[in-house]
């Protein structure tokens, strides 16, 4: 069977010594972690390895010998190295030797207790120790599960190197009895900024937790639970977004350290997302408040509302005449048209009543854009909802009228045919009616039928307007969702340090020489951007369409009120 030796490329120029690492017998592969140099005392080496095994839970042992001779191969050294095999008994004892500056090393194994002493082929795989240690292997999405983990050989190798971090903490300036060579043996690297941030983060987290607990205490107080206020909070999307962000802040400021890679990435993603959100919000705020743009905005708000109301009035006048050449029932037309016109008149009066305060309100509301761009977008969506409230009212009136008419028509149609709806049995049953019941029923049916086009037209027009507003609000919420759920930290990591997020490995065949073992270079194959987004997406209170297209059309036809977007926390009605 083929023997695979995973050799760290940083040890290629190390002095002679013995190899320590992990032997994975089921895969017949040896993962070499470091080289221990002469002189050493075997007892101390064994002690050190025992301690290491206890701390890291990785079965590290002496795997073989490494000889790097600058001059010609010395016979005595090779015998000495073979004798070492008897002290540190390991099956098989791997011997790697490099002559001078040659790229092609010779590798052989000593099997003392082998049953079939045949020449087995050796594959030498070089790997970058630092990158493999820092990298996180993502299994392919279809093979997630406990059984698949056993089958993956690569994850065992990545796991071994990642868990041996303690081994890499001893560098050559340490005064211990063991002299090692690994990727960090020239000196342990650390960054002052990272250390300072780690120290500063603990009190910052505690402060943040305290503030958040105060805030959530206020939010949950009885004062805000009274009926008008609680209804308002549930309808405004700004409050939902603020609650969502509060939750995020609670996740970041929690004292528990992240246990798994996923949790760590999620915390980092939330942090970066919040940061970018607030930065964009402050940018927006500075743009709005410079040159008093918000004042201009407030000044144009009332004329825009007036303009919308005027357009609606024109529309109603058009409907009251002969819209698109259709002939309406004059009396009903006039009644409905006048009713809606009066409604618009009331609305305009209220808006004009508010007009002196609009600028001040908008100025203070605009300040809340510093909480984040998503909050600003939600406020925009809420302002649109408030400004088009009359369209919503008209839609509800029109829909209710139309719905009533449709139900009346369907029930009277059943009366026409001599049937009745049985509420107990939930089905249509035949029923014998009296003559006067039939007479009145037929009369009402005719009236309702001939008044149907007028009501249907009003319903159609206001439903279209309402759908337009809903689409605009939906687009804004889509943008908010995008900003909320995009894992920015993971994407930046994939861009700058692509070896941290590994989808797998790739092998490159290096120069070969006959008689020497096969040389391969193992590199990390990074995850694709789409894979990164899919794996690390942040969950949101997403608004996705509640109804399918078919049921939406059915509801529209019957005149039932539609609430197209469903929020995750809402109860089903």
């Amino acid at each position: 069977m083929v023997l695979k030796v995973f050799f760290p490329s940083c040890c290629s120029s190390a002095d002679s010594g013995i190899l320590i690492g992990r032997w994975i017998s089921e895969q017949n592969s040896a993962v070499i972690l470091a080289v221990v140099h002469f002189p050493f005392i075997p007892v101390q080496v064994k002690q050190y390895l025992g301690e290491l095994q206890r701390v890291t839970k990785v079965s590290v042992s002496v795997l073989g010998s490494w000889s790097n001779s600058k001059q010609e191969k010395e016979e005595s050294l090779s015998e000495f190295l073979e004798d070492l095999g008897t002290i540190f008994c390991h099956e098989p004892w791997i011997q790697i030797s490099k002559e001078g500056d040659s790229k092609f090393w010779s590798c052989s194994t000593l099997q003392k207790h082998s049953k079939n002493p045949q020449e087995e082929e050796i594959i030498l795989v070089y790997y970058d120790q630092r990158k493999v240690m820092l990298s996180h292997l993502h299994p392919p999405l279809d093979t997630a599960g406990p059984r698949a983990e056993d089958a993956s050989k690569l994850s065992a190798i990545f796991d071994t190197v990642a868990r041996s971090q303690v081994l890499f903490m001893t560098d050559r300036y340490d005064e211990g009895p063991i002299k090692l060579t690994h990727w960090q043996s020239d000196g342990v690297e650390a960054s002052i900024i990272v250390e300072l941030m780690k120290q500063a983060s603990v009190p910052a987290c505690m402060l943040l937790t305290f503030l958040l607990s105060l805030l959530s205490g206020i939010c949950r107080s009885r004062l805000l639970k009274f009926w008008p206020l609680s209804f308002l909070w549930s309808k405004l999307s700004t409050c939902e977004q603020l609650g969502h962000r509060l939750q995020h802040l609670q996740v970041i400021s929690s004292n528990k350290k992240a246990q798994t890679q996923n949790q760590l990435m999620r915390k980092a993603n939330i942090f970066v997302s919040l940061l970018i959100d607030v930065a964009l919000g402050i940018l927006l705020m500075s743009w709005l408040y410079r040159k008093n743009r918000i004042g201009h905005l407030a000044d144009t708000l009332i004329p825009v509302a007036d303009h919308v109301a005027e357009e609606l009035q024109d529309l109603l006048q058009w409907l009251m005449g002969a819209p698109a050449g259709l002939k309406m029932n004059r009396a009903l037309d006039q009644v409905l048209g006048r009713f809606f016109l009066y409604h618009i008149h009331l609305w305009i009066s209220y808006i004009h009543l508010l007009s002196p305060f609009i600028e001040m309100i908008l100025w203070y509301v605009g300040l809340s854009a510093c909480l984040g761009l998503t909050v600003a977008l939600c406020i925009l969506s809420d302002i649109i909802a408030l400004l088009t409230f009359h369209i919503y009212c008209f839609y509800v009136y029109g829909a209710r009228l139309y719905c009533l008419k449709i139900y009346g028509l369907s029930s009277l149609w059943r009366l026409f045919r001599g049937k009745k709806w049985n509420v107990l049995r939930q089905r249509v049953d035949s029923c014998s009616y009296d003559l006067d019941q039939l007479f009145i029923g037929t009369l009402l049916f005719t009236i309702l039928l001939f008044l149907l086009p007028t009501t249907a037209l009003y319903y159609l027009v206001f439903t279209l307007l309402r759908l337009l507003v809903v689409i605009v609000q939906g687009l804004i919420h889509l943008l908010v969702d995008l900003i909320d759920s995009l894992p920015l930290y993971s994407l930046i990591l994939r861009l700058c340090r692509s070896y941290r997020l590994a989808a797998g490995v790739k092998f490159r065949v290096l120069e070969q020489q006959d008689g020497k073992p096969l040389r391969l270079l193992m590199q990390i194959n990074p995850l694709s951007y789409a894979g990164v987004v899919q794996t690390y997406r942040l969950p949101t209170y997403s608004c996705y369409p509640r109804d399918s297209w078919a049921s939406l059309c059915k509801k529209l036809f019957l005149g039932e009120l539609i609430y197209p977007w469903k929020h995750k926390g809402e109860k089903q009605n």
Partner: protein, 188 residues
């Protein structure tokens, strides 16, 4: 040792198969498709620019010309980087796995490595592609729950689509190495 032979793809274009044996358990098979022809590139560019000049003559708006240049450049870059595959190669390393690489004309390489434990077999399969029935080589992946089942089929050489004679050569080379894992005694 390397050897190169010429074959034809399913649509008749000339392709070349290069076989290299790095060691007893490691083989590399690379299929190289035809390079981007200067003829087709000039034809496409001229067509786009003639259309742009026609639009310019109609509308007298010089933005059309700059837009055409922009579109040609962007289109060429996108084509070379995402669409045109120059070479597809298969690296079979006994007891490690199979690596499938596609090299694009811009130099980008996209690699997938499948561990030997997940590979059930390499077979030649038939498929209906447009109006033809073609042969293609594919790797069958093992289903972890069911030892007899196949969880996924990974088709190889999808852009060069070699014909059966080329596929048989590749198949024989792969099976040489895959058989070794059945005959080799498992270490305890």
């Amino acid at each position: 040792m390397a050897e190169e032979r010429r074959f034809r793809s399913a649509s008749g274009a000339p392709i070349a198969l290069r076989r290299r044996q790095h060691s007893a358990c490691c083989r590399e098979l690379a299929v190289r498709g035809p390079r981007l022809q200067l003829r087709s590139l000039s034809a496409a560019t001229s067509a786009v620019w003639l259309a742009a000049y026609g639009l310019f003559a109609l509308s007298q708006n010089s933005m059309v010309l700059s837009a055409a240049i922009f579109i040609t450049l962007i289109g060429l870059i996108v084509y070379l980087h995402f669409v045109k595959i120059d070479q597809e190669s298969l690296l079979v390393i006994g007891s490690l796995g199979i690596q499938v690489t596609s090299s694009y004309a811009s130099g980008k390489e996209s690699t997938t490595f499948i561990e030997m434990g997940r590979v059930k077999d390499v077979v030649i399969n038939e498929a209906i592609h447009m109006q033809k029935v073609i042969y293609y080589l594919c790797i069958l992946l093992q289903d972890p729950e069911d030892p007899q089942g196949v969880s996924e089929v990974v088709p190889l050489f999808q852009s060069s689509k070699p014909r059966l004679d080329c596929l048989i050569e590749v198949y024989k080379s792969c099976q040489d190495i895959l058989e070794q894992r059945k005959t080799a005694p498992q270490s305890s």
